[in-house]
């Protein structure tokens, strides 16, 4: 079974990759079929993931772990919303209310906490690590904020100069990081394609 899953995964990966590079009709059709299968599997995996979420919370409730009341609330809300969604459809006013009145405000609140967390982290940075790059990191962040923030007197003098100079270095650095990540992703993909890494069906 393990050999079959590996052979199927490698063959599927190679067909999709070759279909991308060579415009042969058979390869293109196979590529589309395999991509469709992948989309269907991804849809089912969401259901399995939600089942996993419920199972973990139910275990917490059963073993009366800390915070299990929140787990119960989550499971009840999930089943209730899922049931209503199935009955009334996702476009129903009640479903929109559930999103607009609960999910959006909660996520907005977390976003607000996030901004405070980031300020706190930047304050602690100098306590954690004092070196040239840390000072440079904070200096550039402050300069950028000064250059882009609105003030009652309009933009600060030299804002465009700061954005141009600091932006030039930060864009270059970001591209360098992204090139490195792209190379890492390429090699990771190749290892999976060759069956060296097999995060499926056992290894």
């Amino acid at each position: 079974m393990r050999v079959f899953t590996a052979a199927f995964a490698i063959a599927s990966g190679l067909i999709v990759l070759l279909g991308y590079f060579f415009p042969i009709l058979l390869l293109s059709r196979l590529r589309l079929i395999l991509t469709d299968w992948a989309i269907v599997i991804a849809g089912f995996s969401v259901l399995i993931g939600i089942f996993n979420l419920i199972a973990v919370q139910m275990e917490r409730i059963r073993t009366r772990q800390k915070g299990s009341a929140y787990g119960a609330l989550l499971v009840i809300s999930l089943i209730f919303t899922f049931g209503i969604g199935l009955l009334l459809g996702p476009d129903d006013a009640f479903m929109k209310l559930a999103v607009d009145a609960i999910i959006v405000p909660v996520e907005a609140a977390l976003m607000a906490i996030l901004s405070i967390t980031l300020i706190y982290a930047s304050i602690r940075l100098l306590r954690r690590r004092v070196d040239l790059t840390t000072v440079l990191f904070l200096l550039v962040a402050v300069l950028f904020l000064l250059a882009i923030m609105p003030t009652p007197f309009g933009p600060i003098p030299g804002d465009q100069f700061i954005l141009d100079i600091a932006g030039m270095f930060s864009r270059g650095g970001a591209r360098g990081l992204l090139i490195g990540i792209a190379l890492g992703t390429l090699l990771t993909g190749l290892r999976v394609l060759f069956g060296i890494d097999r995060p499926y069906g056992g290894n």
Binding site: I48, G49, L53, L110, L118, I181, G189, R191, V192, P199
Partner: protein, 244 residues
């Protein structure tokens, strides 16, 4: 055709260097975060605490899947090394397919160590599907599950600041790497030893995942030099008046 050429070159180099590295293992440069990771794995087993590995929200059907797969390599090795502990690591993710793969990978690790009975399917969890719900679902784990070290590795965004904050508040170790630039800047500000850029993909090599991972690092170095030469060559040609 250039893309296909790079792909073939990378594939050939990977295969050749993997065979070579099987005979003579590479000497890797010192990365403090991975040294700490190896220490934390040992300490968690000795102290009876847990490790928490957060794989992020890397969807395997997008280009973000690469970082998730790198995280899975780490999961495999950590599961194998912590199999003697009665507290298996908790692995969280914000993508359903990734959760299923993390279960499969962790089970493989336990099986390889001859301790499959230690595997608990409830230790691999999907904690939320949107960025903030994922963060909100993951935060209590550090607080409530006797976690001694948090390893954030994968596609995480700005919401990772909430995870680093809870790790700091609970006084647990934090090892963090992401393919996302926002998350990298957050980790730089909040992790003890941040991993920057492609260091994320070196995780497997540093936890002893095998010759192929060491070979991958070497191929990345070769390709990086080719990219540098291409950029410099392109700039010189542009300066010389060639338009392309």
């Amino acid at each position: 055709m250039i893309a296909l050429g790079i792909l073939i070159l990378a594939a050939v180099l990977l295969l050749v260097l993997t065979l070579w590295r099987r005979r003579s293992p590479a000497t890797l440069r010192h990365i403090e975060a991975y040294e700490r990771l190896n220490r934390e794995v040992g300490l968690a087993v000795e102290n009876g605490t847990r490790l928490h590995i957060s794989l992020g929200r890397g969807n395997l059907f997008t280009s973000r899947g690469g970082s998730a797969l790198a995280g899975l390599s780490l999961v495999r090795r950590v599961a194998e090394r912590t199999s003697v502990s009665d507290r298996p690591p908790i692995i969280t993710s914000g993508d359903a397919a990734l959760t299923i793969l993390s279960q499969d990978t962790a089970q493989s690790g336990f099986r390889a160590a001859g301790a499959e009975e230690q595997f608990r399917v409830s230790a691999e969890r999907m904690t939320g599907l949107s960025p903030f719900s994922y963060a909100a679902g993951t935060m209590p784990i550090t607080r409530d599950e006797n976690v001694s070290a948090n390893i954030l590795i994968g596609d995480l965004g700005a919401e990772s600041a909430l995870l680093t904050e809870v790790a700091d508040r609970e006084d647990t170790s934090l090892i963090a790497a992401s393919d996302n630039l926002s998350a990298q800047s957050i980790f730089y500000a909040s992790a003890q030893e941040p991993l920057i850029g492609e260091e994320l993909f070196a995780a497997g090599a540093y936890v002893g995942a095998g010759a192929s991972h060491e070979a991958s690092l070497q191929v990345q170095d070769v390709l990086r030099w080719l990219v540098i030469l291409a950029i410099l060559g392109g700039a010189l040609l542009k300066m010389a008046g060639f338009n392309f």
